[in-house]
């Protein structure tokens, strides 16, 4: 059995990755996450300059999940290279840098700065962050803008280019197609869903910006449906994200058409989640007699 996959020559040794924003810069989970069983680490979103992020509170727990409004807090690309890459280079997982910005030029600057950096294996382009006023989700809900940013970044790197898609859109197939048409190597779906919690005492939203991004088991069926849809609209690999807290959830993503998965906020509750899911998928594939990831996809076709 071989559950590895490839993207532009990069080998994902495990179909399980850890999602951007939930693993920091990987060092935070040193000794807790077994990176030998993590195919790829998707870093915290990186912007050209450091960002302090949104005011507190940034989190609120919800039924079967949580809302976050971190606001792309990160160290900026320069400090990322000097302070965060040394550890990322040491782990066996691929390092996919999640890239964010307010303008096209922000994305271009980050990719240009990181393209030649040793240890950076590829880019996941965050056109779907619901927690910033500019860029982010506004970009990711317009297929023409997704096409434009994909084209511009494709011209700047020969490394894997993954577009992380927003579910806050009527037809996620359109943004996926736009990314594929302009040379994206894969799409990740989905980013968080827009959500709100209102405090009955103050009668106002708990989060300072009103809304935040919903993650956790609550979004599993939404994510599986998106993966199913997108994998039938594009021929590039689909990376399934959303609601995975058990290996069975990850298998659903793979059966829906994903070539690999990312575990997200489930790691917060259980730092061992990625390795448990890696082991669970492997055992299930063995039991079912599946030989590779394509065998998972054969059922739905």
């Amino acid at each position: 059995m071989d559950l590895t996959s490839r993207l532009r020559g990069c080998v994902f040794s495990s179909p399980v990755g850890v999602a951007s924003g939930t693993i920091g810069y990987a060092k935070e989970y040193e000794g807790l996450v077994d990176y030998r069983k993590v195919g790829a680490v998707y870093t915290k979103a990186i912007t050209p300059e450091p960002r302090i992020g949104n005011p507190a509170p940034r989190l609120v727990e919800t039924p079967a999940g949580m809302l976050n409004s971190i606001g792309l807090a990160n160290v900026g690309v320069t400090a990322f290279i000097t302070e965060k890459m040394p550890f990322l280079r040491k782990i066996p997982s691929l390092v996919m840098v999640n890239v964010a910005g307010a303008t096209d030029s922000d994305y271009e600057r980050v990719v240009e700065a990181l393209d030649g950096v040793d240890g950076v294996d590829g880019f996941e382009i965050n056109v779907s962050c619901p927690n910033v006023k500019h860029g982010g989700m506004a970009l990711g809900t317009d297929p023409r803008l997704v096409a434009g940013i994909t084209k511009s970044l494709r011209a700047r790197t020969t490394k894997p280019l993954i577009l992380k898609l927003s579910p806050n859109i009527t037809d996620i197939g359109l943004t996926a197609e736009a990314a594929e048409a302009e040379g994206a190597d894969a799409v990740s779906c989905i980013n968080t869903l827009v959500g709100m919690v209102i405090d009955l005492k103050t009668k106002k939203p708990v989060l300072p910006l009103g809304t935040g991004g919903l993650s956790g088991p609550a979004i599993l069926p939404v994510a599986v449906a998106a993966v199913y849809k997108v994998s039938r609209r594009v021929s590039i690999p689909v990376i399934g994200i959303g609601g995975i807290t058990r290996w069975e959830d990850a298998v659903q993503h793979l059966l829906a058409g994903a070539t690999s998965v990312q575990v997200g906020s489930g790691t917060f509750a259980n730092p061992r989640l990625a390795q448990e899911i890696h082991d669970g998928i492997t055992e299930w594939a063995q039991k079912e007699g599946l030989k590779n990831l394509a065998d998972f996809h054969a059922f739905g076709r």
């Binding site: 924003g21 939930t22 693993i23 920091g24 935070e28 989970y29 000794g31 807790l32 915290k44 302090i52 992020g53 005011p55 507190a56 509170p57 940034r58 989190l59 609120v60 727990e61 919800t62 039924p63 079967a64 999940g65 949580m66 976050n68 971190i70 807090a73 956790g216 088991p217 609550a218 807290t245 906020s265 790691t267 917060f268 509750a269 259980n270 730092p271 061992r272």
Partner: protein, 257 residues
Amino acid sequence: MKQFDAKILENRELAEDYFEMFLSWPQAVRTPFPGQVVSFWVERTVTPFLRRPFALASFQPDTRVASVIYHVRGPGTHRMAAKRPGEVIDTLGPRGFYFQPGKGRNPILVGGGVGTGPMVFAANWLASKGFRPHLVLGYRSRTLVPRLTLSTTVRLSVCTDDGSEGFHGTTVAFLDRLGPGEVDDAFVWACGPNPMLRAVHFWAHPRGIPCQVSLEEIMACGVGACVGCTVETTDGRGMVRVCTEGPVFPSEVIRWT
């Protein structure tokens, strides 16, 4: 920091809806200090979804027994209160910057509500180091005042908002009444609701009394990855993580709002 199964040794009610859970602390896990935090994955449920962070309330180095004092107020703590000795609880920790003595030989420790645990740990720890701490604890009413196990050299003063036990008023109103002899060579450590911590800071700071506070924020990961538990500082660091740069801070670096 490690993720480990801690065996529950005892889970007893200290006051109305306040419990103390005693845990066996494995040899392989580092010795915790007052102010440090653990988080529990109480059960493998989807709701509640996240771990629950608590500052430790005690650690016995000889028996390697640790405890947390918690207030039953939501689904996570309800499930904790239902746990019985012999069960295990998925624990992540110990974590964070802890209280450390600096200048001063006269500790005044101020705790309110769920801030009781770390202040009890701090008081007993300081007593074991030869200090004679004054532990000032505040509650709404006498039914919430926990029965605590304190070293004989700890002086306890209880304050209640309704005057049903001890001093009638807040912990800071109590501090205001301390005589000069009682605040000589003092340092203050505090944990509790933010308004109390703010008031303690503005009591200690003008008097030149060094003050450290342990902050509480909602946390998702508890290890520094999610950047959800941030607090604004005045020392040029901007927003810092309570779980990583804290939870204990010198009170003057916090931007009190």
